[in-house]
């Protein structure tokens, strides 16, 4: 009960932070003269700071601000609030995703969009705050953007925006990029982080992803196909081996029961002669991919040995 209350308060706080800037726009739209947004911002800031100690200082900068002071105060405050907001959002979304495997993918896909929305709102709010009366800063900003347009940072940023909108993969998907295979842990504005199967974190710049091919084995679904290969002597009784492999797959607790299991037998004539039994099956959730492979291999090997198929 207490936890519910806590979450409710947290959600109310987040909503206030998100929609606060919007309410400022709404207020201004009805007025003939644009209201001094800077004054409102400082008033809001004063309410946030307990006590009266800082009020004199804030009153001074409210009345006689100057663009530099506005930038020095507004940008860090808005960026800090937005950053904290995105952290809280991330915590909430990941918590919700962990509660239900069924809706995990939907939650994880929602996070980059929510984060992008938070940052867009923050930037729009800042522009509204600073540019309304100081158009020159906009020009200055544009010049900076142009100057850095060719730089990797802007490329990565644009790549991050593209990944968020186009969504060729989402958080939680298993992808291969630049030779790294793993689960997408985060799609940042600059780089995408992948958790490889040996638990290493690899940050791939978004501009790199934009310009290279990527393979996605889950494509937004919470299950994925796993191919397990079982190598046997070329003289093996294939039918018995296939039956064992099939039963090993259907008996695995990690199997997705609603998808079919296919068992194929292939012969290899390279360095050594071998028959490969290939088990193609889906796992119930992508995080069980390796556990499934290991379970099938362990059970099948034991049965092959018991039935004398290795000799």
């Amino acid at each position: 009960m207490r936890r519910k209350k806590y979450l409710w308060r947290l959600s109310a706080g987040l909503a206030a932070l998100l929609f606060g800037p919007l309410s400022l726009f709404a207020q201004e739209a009805g007025e003939e003269q644009p209201s001094p947004t800077w004054e409102k911002f400082i008033e809001g800031l004063k309410k946030l700071i307990p006590g009266n100690l800082e009020d004199d200082f804030l009153d001074t900068i409210k009345e006689d601000s100057g663009i530099l002071i506005e930038i020095l105060i507004a940008i860090p405050v808005v960026f800090l609030v937005t950053y904290l907001l995105t952290r809280v959002l991330k915590w909430l979304v990941f918590k919700a995703a962990a509660r239900s495997t069924q809706y995990q993918v939907q939650w994880l896909r929602a996070y980059p969009v929510l984060r992008l929305l938070a940052w867009v709102l923050a930037i729009v709010y800042l522009l509204q705050l600073l540019m309304g009366e100081h158009w020159e800063i906009l020009v200055f900003g544009l010049l900076i953007m142009l100057a850095y347009a060719g730089k990797d940072g802007i490329k990565d940023l644009l790549g991050g925006l593209w990944l968020t909108i186009e969504r060729p993969f989402s958080v939680g998907d298993r992808i291969t990029v630049d030779g790294y295979y793993g689960e997408v842990a985060d799609i940042g504005l600059r780089a995408t982080t992948i958790n490889t199967l040996d638990d290493s974190k690899v940050a791939v710049p978004n501009s790199f992803i934009l310009g290279n091919s990527i393979s996605n084995s889950t494509s937004g679904k919470n299950y994925c196909m796993v191919v397990t290969e079982l190598w046997l002597p070329i003289t093996v009784d294939v039918q018995r081996a296939k039956r064992i492999a099939y039963e090993a797959a259907i008996s695995s607790p990690y199997l997705n029961l609603d998808k079919s299991v296919t068992v194929l037998a292939l012969d290899y004539f390279r360095e050594e002669l071998a028959t490969v039994i290939q088990v193609k099956a889906y796992v119930l959730a992508r995080q069980y991919e390796k556990l499934f492979q290991s379970d099938v291999t362990e059970a099948a090997k034991q049965a092959f040995r018991e039935e004398g198929l290795y000799s």
Binding site: S100, E247, S251, P253, D258, L284, Q302
Partner: protein, 393 residues
């Protein structure tokens, strides 16, 4: 802040005292044996109690489920197709079959669940009995036995013939071959737990061998009537429920003692039916958990609080799934299903037993089996849906 609010609430809306609202709990002895016997989980003594499933129409005194069995019998006479009934454990499938007995042509052999069958040597005598033969050397030989007249064989809980491991499906497949070989001379009626059916249908396409029908849950009225029937001859006194909202307590304080008991009764049955979810076995265990004692022909009932089970780690959930899938498993069988080391397997089962998820079933020829506790049956199904993406109803 919270304390202040509580203080104000107490001043404005004082909470009525328990002794003014509820009858005092007398010194109660434990429930007498004859009373608990009425609420055993064995099949109903009067099978008609469990006729009338949710959504079924009663036609000429027969519930829809009896019509299903009648139709299946006709289908068998014309095409030799056996019947498979699938349903949730504890919804009264055995009682339903017993109620259907008068509809079936004699002789009827009822092969009830007496524990798992693990090898051909154990299966052969069971099927020999089914065929009415005296002795048989093998299943093949038994399949050629000609019974004097067509017969009906009810085989309960067919999931006890398989074990989810390599080679663990052979016995079930032998049984299916036997059913197929004898389907012209025997009307086979096979029952299975709905989760085992879900699994075996994907694994070995079980349904392809039968005409399969789902036995749905009992309607709320039927569950209530079945409980009242078992409680016949005893009056009911409702004590203070374990969980009671302040608002409801205030509503009760405005009633006279008779209306209060009526309201508590309505509330109690509402909770019982919600907990049961159409499952008569769950309704029975709820009743037994509520019954505090019997005195002078009055059973004292206290609605138990339904506590949500603790979070179950994946490895424990997988063990629970395996036990549920087979209806019951021994420790050695759990070990065989998971290739566990004996230490871990035993430890996992002990943990699940201590938390009440499992309970020991009466031992079969010296082998102790464990079963999922009906109290947590629906919670387990929810976990299987949410955590393991199993698509079960």
């Amino acid at each position: 802040m919270k304390n202040a609010l509580e203080w104000i609430q107490e001043k404005i809306f004082p909470e009525p005292k328990d002794e003014d609202l509820f009858p005092p709990t007398p010194n109660l002895d434990e429930l007498p044996g004859p009373y608990t016997d009425r609420f055993s989980l064995n099949p109903a003594r009067e099978p008609s109690e469990v006729l009338g499933r949710a959504g079924d129409e009663v036609e000429n005194g027969k519930g829809g489920e009896l019509k299903v069995i009648e139709n299946a019998l006709e289908q068998w006479k014309n095409h030799g197709i056996p019947l498979l009934l699938e349903g949730e454990s504890g919804v009264g499938m055995t009682s339903l079959l017993q109620a259907a007995m008068p509809l079936l042509p004699e002789p009827v052999v009822f092969l009830e669940d007496k524990g798992r069958i693990t090898c051909r040597e154990e299966l052969l005598p069971v099927l020999t009995q089914a065929m009415g033969a005296e002795k048989a050397e093998s299943l093949d030989a038994l399949a050629h036995v000609e019974p004097g007249a067509p017969r009906v064989v009810v085989f309960e809980n067919v999931e006890r013939l398989f074990l989810r491991r390599i080679g663990g499906y052979d016995l079930l497949q032998d049984f299916l071959l036997f059913v197929n070989a004898t389907r012209k001379k025997v009307f086979w009626v096979v029952t299975i737990n709905d989760y085992s059916f879900y699994f075996l249908n994907h694994a070995i396409k079980l349904a392809d061998n039968f005409s399969s029908k789902k036995v749905s849950c009992l309607s709320a009225d039927k569950i209530k009537a079945a409980i009242m029937k078992r409680n016949e001859g005893f009056r009911m006194m409702f004590l203070k429920p374990e969980k009671l909202s302040r608002r409801y307590k205030q509503r009760l304080s405005k009633m006279d003692p008779e209306s209060r008991q009526a309201s508590l009764r309505e509330n109690f049955f509402g909770q019982l039916l919600e907990f049961a979810g159409g499952n008569i076995s769950r309704a029975i265990i709820y009743w037994l958990a509520a019954a505090r004692g019997v005195k002078e022909g009055i059973v004292h009932l206290k609605a138990p609080a339904i506590v949500k089970p603790q979070e179950v780690p994946l490895e424990e959930l997988l063990v629970l799934e395996a036990v549920f899938l087979h209806t019951s498993l021994s420790f050695e069988e759990v070990e065989a299903v998971f290739h566990h080391s004996s230490y871990n397997g035993r430890l996992l089962l002990d943990r699940l037993l201590s938390r009440g998820w499992l309970y020991p079933r009466s031992p079969r020829s010296g082998v102790q089996e464990y079963q999922v506790n009906f109290w947590f049956l629906h919670e387990l199904k929810e976990l299987l849906k949410n955590k393991l993406n199993r698509k079960i109803s």
